[in-house]
Amino acid sequence: MSAILSADDLNDFISPGVACIKPVETLPKEELKEPNNAYEVTTEDKVPPPPDAPPAQISLTDCLACSGCVTSAEAVLVSLQSHSEVLNALDSTPSIDPQLLAAAARGEQQNGLGEGRIFIVSISPQTRASLAAAYGISEQQAGYMLEQLFSGPQGIRSGGAYKNGFTWVIDTNVAREACLVLGADEVKESLAQSSSNEQAQGDNPTHPKRPILTSACPGWICYAEKTHPHILPHLSRLKSPQALLGTLLKTSLSKRLNISPDRIWHLAVMPCFDKKLEASREELTDLAWQTDSQSQTKQGIRDVDCVITTKEILMLAESRGIALHDVPRTPLDPSTRVPFPDPTLDSFLFPSLDHPRHRNAQSASGPSGGYLYHILCTYQAQSPGSSIEIVRGRNSDVVDYTLKDANGGVILKTARYYGFRNIQNLVRRLKPARASRMPGAAARRLGGASRKPGMPAAASSASSAGLGTDYAYVEVMACPGGCTNGGAQLKPIDLVASSAPAAPATSNGGANADLGLDSAPTSGTATPIASSGTSTPQQQREWLARVDEAYFSASDDEGEGETVGTKSNGTAAKIAADNVNGISPAYIHSMLTHWSNTTSVPLDRLAYTTYRKVESDVGKDRDKGRETERVVELAGKIGGGW
């Protein structure tokens, strides 16, 4: 695991990829303060963060060990999404009166909704798991704690200009269910297509090439777009749960309430800094789904307005003067929840309490959403007697999952590749064979004239480039250990640092106990983890194991988690009939159809997205001025420019 990088270091850090400035359309207008500092930008509509705000911590190496990944523009985008930005948004305008929303939900459209915005927050299960491990509570309790923080009377509602809180707190697991079903559909369709027509496979942009690669990890997407464009046709076109939920909320609410999407302010809480980059993508704004043509000219309104990370939850609470460990860990009264103004979506977004918690609970599905596992379950359901064979690779982040029929025949070969080093090996295999940068030698190699005697030419010419794979699907995540180990998850050291001011009175070691970091009896003052300043790999592993335990334990709280609960809207029979991995594809499809119908936007524009090669502009523009500019940029990187 690599070092945390602060924004101050960015100039030096990004140097190798300096020429690669990603064209980010939603970047706020830049205003060069001084001609000498290309990277200093101010925004017109944003109050500068308070001077005492801690510097933004950007840990891109944690997510992706690639220095070419972050450009200046991206660094700005990332720094604009912070806990202080959340507070700014909350203080910018009143929240829309919940009574009016409730009335709208009942269909009693009165005299409009008045001024203000709707504030919504969606929370990832990995965030809950991280907090659960930190505070020694269950994942469910962590969820309640966050609900209280964002929506409850003792939470952030207790302060600020308008005493605003968040009207809805949504678990991104609900969107993940939809992503899993659509992801399995995508694999089935594209495999069927590729087997029926090998030739046309590459030409049809609607389906990804085999092997299909997970696209929910923004660090991976960012890296692939910049460094390995040959990978892009393999990426699943499906939006991530964060993005899908954003689109769902903005489209359905703006349609139903007849308000502009910029009056809906959607915050996501994620385990990963790179999710901020994802939220900044032009592809994930209302430009992708708005139907009226006039909107095409303006700047897009993001489906997710702001992303903060697990770490920043602590800062958010702190800046409102809230001690997170004092926030109740009990659910809010369900009767106080404002119903979502669409009953079908309401039951989708807010599964009733007796509905079992969703399937991050199963360790087989992994810590990153379970895309791969759900696909396997989908195929397994269609092949009675089949079984999943799991073979660990060179390290724990490379695992082969092969679905075999009763006779041992391979039905589907898939794999999990987490972490930068393993991704390297995957992308190298998928590289076109001709892409060798050693032309003269490559010809020799392909000729294969003098390989070892007795060795088939085909085998001998195999190199790590262009080897190809026979996988149908690979679940790719940039972080070793997957999303529970996201770069912005809490580390033991964060807890100690942030708990100190929050709980100064706990001289009896209560603070540590509260954080779940029970002091070893041998340690007088601090926990072993805390005392070392930086944690050893072993400590990091133990910590991650605890986060994973919290993540996978979600169902244990419920007891008999394997039974499928009853949906309040009477779809129980249907669920039981086609349940795959605890999810009903039919139910998901009916919800998606409803969504598409009520918003009059085809599902293709709602649930899918696109990727693009981000090109370096070096060597393209021969214009002299530009060249000097690039050299200035190159030279500016002291210690790294050349």
């Binding site: 060597g619 000097t628 002291i638 420019g641 050349w642």
Partner: protein
């Protein structure tokens, strides 16, 4: 991104030089510079006519070296003024002005010292050039320094070690720039970087 829109400019006539002005007319044909095997004929080099050295090192020297003849030991030694004349005509990468007229390089900041060592190395010299960036946070300091280093490594005999440093107190990150300029491996790699090389060529076009 111009570093300094209004730099102090010295009059060319006021700059110290031993050259005859006619020998570096601005309209002189730009000569291809790096790794060019052809020794320019038009340079008025007091040592150019000296007998060529037959040592192995000569066959190695593929760069066009104005003064690249070790037999100069026997002749008039290369002095600070000579070094100044070699680098003061380098163009600033941003301004259409020479490093001499911008006072980035200055005669008093050039020092030639014999290398310490036994008599065996008595021929060895170290040239220290301290450059003064036009402003303390000049982002092009590493490029200017690189240009000076490259110019001298090409033009001086190989018995000269070239140290280019930022004059103390004239740059906010002088130590870092010095370290980078002193790193032979990075300098070598930079000269294989097409973009940088293009800028260096332009800077050195005005050198004769």
């Amino acid at each position: 991104m111009a570093d300094n829109a209004n730099p102090t400019i010295l009059n060319a006539a006021d700059l110290p030089t031993r050259r005859r002005l006619s020998s570096h007319s601005a309209t002189g044909k730009p000569r291809s510079f790096l790794f060019d095997d052809i020794v320019p004929a038009d340079y008025n080099d007091p040592f150019a006519t000296a007998a060529t050295d037959s040592g192995l090192s000569r066959s190695f020297s593929s760069s066009s070296s104005d003064l690249n003849s070790d037999s100069d030991e026997l002749a008039e030694p290369i002095d600070e003024q000579e070094v100044y004349d070699l680098i003061s005509t380098i163009s600033d990468p941003e301004h259409p002005l020479s490093l001499g007229s911008l006072a980035v390089v200055n005669l008093p900041d050039i020092h030639i010292v014999p290398a310490a060592g036994s008599s065996a190395s008595s021929r060895m010299r170290t040239v220290l050039v301290e450059i003064t960036p036009t402003i303390t946070h000049c982002s092009l300091a590493t490029v200017i320094g690189l240009g000076v280093r490259v110019r001298l490594e090409q033009a001086l005999p190989p018995r000269f070690r070239v140290d280019v440093r930022i004059k103390e107190g004239t740059h906010s990150t002088g130590d870092q720039v010095n370290k980078q300029l002193g790193d032979k491996e990075r300098v070598a790699a930079a000269l294989e970087n097409g973009t940088l090389l293009g800028v260096l060529r332009k800077m050195l076009e005005t050198c004769q």
